[in-house]
Amino acid sequence: MKITGLGYLIKEGFKNVWHNRIMSIASVCVLVSCLVLTGSAVLFSRNVAQVVDSVSDSNETTFYIKENLSRVEAVYIGRDIAKVKNVADVEYYSKDEAIKKYKKTLGEDIFQRMADDNPLPDAYIVTMKDLSKYDSTVENILKIEGVKKVASRRETAKKLTKINDLVQTMSLWVVVALTIISLFIISNTIRATMHSRRFEISIMKSVGATNHFVRIPFVVEGMTLGFIAAVISTVAMFFLYDGVMSIITNVIPFTSIPIMDVIFYVAGAFVVSGMFIGALSGVISLRKYLKKEGNEILGW
C-alpha cells in the first residue's frame, strides 16, 4: 500500500473532530471518566501495596486489654503475654499515652473534647522474636484472659489488602463497563461523522480506495479523541491525586507515592489506552459501512 496520500486523509480525521464537536465532547467526557477511574484504582492499589510493604517488617503489635481492669490485673496480663512463646519484649502503653500520640500526629482540636472521657483502651505493645510465627503468636496472646483485641499495622495491612482486593474487583467491572460505554459512544460519534461523509465514502469506494484508506480519517478521529481524553485525564489525575492524598494522609498517616514518581507512567498509559480505544471505535463503526456498496452507502 502506498502511503503518499495519507497526509490528506489524516488531516480530514482531525477536521472531523471539530466538525462534530458536541459528540466529540461527549466522547471525550466518557473516556476521561473511564481513564480517571482506572488510573485512580491503579494508584490506590499501588499505595496500598506500598503501605503493606512498609509495615510487613514492622515488628510492633498492639494488644488492647479490656476496660475497667485494675492496675494489678493489667500487670498480670502483661506477665502472661511475656510468657508466650516467641514474645521478645512487652511494653505497657496506657490510654493517656495513646491519646497524646494521636494528638501529636492528628492535631489537638479533634481530641479536645475527648480529654476527659478517653475512649481508647489501655494496651501492651509486643515485639516478637520471629515474625514468620506472627499469626500463631497473636493467636496465643489473644487466648489470655483480659486481652481484648489485636491492632498492629500488620493487621491494618491485612484489612487494607482485603479492601484493596474488593476495590480492585469492583473497579475492574466498572472499568470494563466504562470501556464498553466509551467504545459505544465514540463509535457513535464516528458514525455521525460517517453519515455526514457517506458521500465521500461512496466516492472513495467507487474510485477504488482500499478499506484501509477509507478507514484512515475515522481512525484518526477516534485516536484524536482518545489523545485529548488522555491529556485531560492526566491533568485531572494530577490534581485529584494531590488533593485526595493530602486529605487521606492527614487522617491516616502514611507515606504516599509522590505523584511526580508516577505521573509520566500514568500519562503514557492514558495516551496508549485512550488512542487504542479511539482507533478501535473507528474500526468498529466502519465495519458495517465497508460491507456496503454504491448507493447502499448513501442509504438509497
Partner: protein
C-alpha cells in the same frame, strides 16, 4: 482485439426475487464506445453494478480486463475499480470542496503522491475545458460544467474504462451533446466508454454501438446487426418521448399531436417490471 468486458450467460436475481438480468451475454472490446439503452427497470443499472462489482451475479461469468471478477475477493475489489472511472447522473460532487479538490480527491483516495496530484489535476481540468475554474465550488457551476468536473474525476486516475450512468440526465440538451462529444474525444485516445442513456437524440446523433437491454436480456446489439440501430432508436422514440417537446406543446396549448405518444408512454410505464432496489 481483446475484450475489456465480457458477460457470459449472466443472470442476477435479487433477494426480493426480481430477475434483473436473465442469461445476458455480451462482449465489449478495448477502445469501444457503447451506448446501453433500455427502459428503466430493464436491468441497465444492474449491468453496471455487476461490472463495478457492487453486485455479484447469481449465475454466469464476468470478465473485466481479462480477469474473471465473478467471485473476486473483497480486498481485490478496489484494484478492479481503479480500472474504471464512474460518471453519475447526479454528478456526486462534494460541495464543500473546490472543483480542484473534487478531482484531486479521487487521486488522494488511492494514495497518489501530492506531486502527482499537482501535475495531473490541472492537466485533466484543462482536458475537460475547466481551466481556471479549479477554485470554484461545484454549486457555482452550471449543470454541464458540474458533469465535466465529474468526468474529470472519473478520468484523473487514467482508467481503462469510463462508465457513465445517465451522464446527461440532469443537464440541458446542448450540454448533453458536449459531454458525449467530450467522451468521444476521450474514446479516441483509447479509453473504452460505456454510456447508459435514455436520450435517443444522442444515440442517433453519435453513430456508435448500441446495446439494448429489456427485461434483463440483451435484445439488440448494433455491432452484430446493423438494422438494430434503426430498431433501437425507433423503440426509444416511442418509449421515451422528448419531455421538452411535450412541455413546449403543453405550454403553447397544442397537445393534440402528442396524445398518442403520451398514451403509449403511459402503457409502457404500466408494463415495466419493478426494479429490485
Amino acid at each position: 482485439m481483446d475484450n475489456i468486458i465480457e458477460f457470459k450467460n449472466v443472470s442476477k436475481t435479487y433477494p426480493s426475487g426480481t430477475h434483473a438480468l436473465n442469461n445476458a451475454s455480451l462482449e465489449i472490446e478495448k477502445g469501444e464506445f457503447v451506448f446501453i439503452v433500455g427502459a428503466s427497470g430493464a436491468g441497465k443499472s444492474t449491468f453496471l453494478k455487476l461490472i463495478m462489482h457492487e453486485e455479484i451475479p447469481s449465475r454466469g461469468t464476468i470478465m473485466v480486463n481479462g480477469v474473471n471478477v465473478t467471485n473476486l475477493k473483497r480486498r481485490k475489489v478496489p484494484y478492479l475499480r481503479r480500472n474504471m472511472g464512474i460518471v453519475f447522473q447526479d454528478f456526486r460532487l462534494i460541495d464543500k470542496m473546490t472543483v480542484y479538490d473534487n478531482v484531486a480527491f479521487a487521486m488522494r483516495a488511492i494514495g497518489s503522491s501530492p506531486s502527482a496530484v499537482r501535475k495531473r489535476v490541472p492537466y485533466i481540468l484543462k482536458l475537460v475545458g475547466l481551466s481556471g475554474k479549479g477554485n470554484r465550488r461545484p454549486s457555482e457551476l452550471s449543470g454541464g460544467e458540474q458533469q465535466r468536473v465529474s468526468l474529470a474525476r472519473a478520468l484523473v486516475n487514467n482508467p481503462a474504462i469510463i462508465i457513465a450512468d445517465e451522464p446527461t440526465g440532469n443537464i440541458d440538451p446542448e450540454m448533453s451533446f458536449e459531454i458525449i462529444e467530450l467522451l468521444s474525444e476521450i474514446n479516441a485516445q483509447g479509453t473504452t466508454i460505456l454510456v447508459v442513456t435514455h436520450e435517443h437524440d444522442l444515440v442517433r446523433h453519435f453513430n456508435k454501438r448500441v446495446i439494448e437491454i429489456e427485461k434483463g436480456r440483451v435484445i439488440s446489439d448494433t455491432k452484430h446487426n446493423a438494422e438494430d440501430l434503426y430498431a433501437v432508436t425507433t423503440a426509444l422514440e416511442t418509449e421515451m418521448p422528448d419531455i421538452d417537446e411535450i412541455v413546449e406543446s403543453v405550454v403553447s396549448g397544442d397537445t393534440a399531436e402528442f396524445e398518442p405518444i403520451k398514451e403509449a408512454a403511459a402503457e409502457d410505464t404500466q408494463e415495466l417490471p419493478k426494479e429490485g432496489n
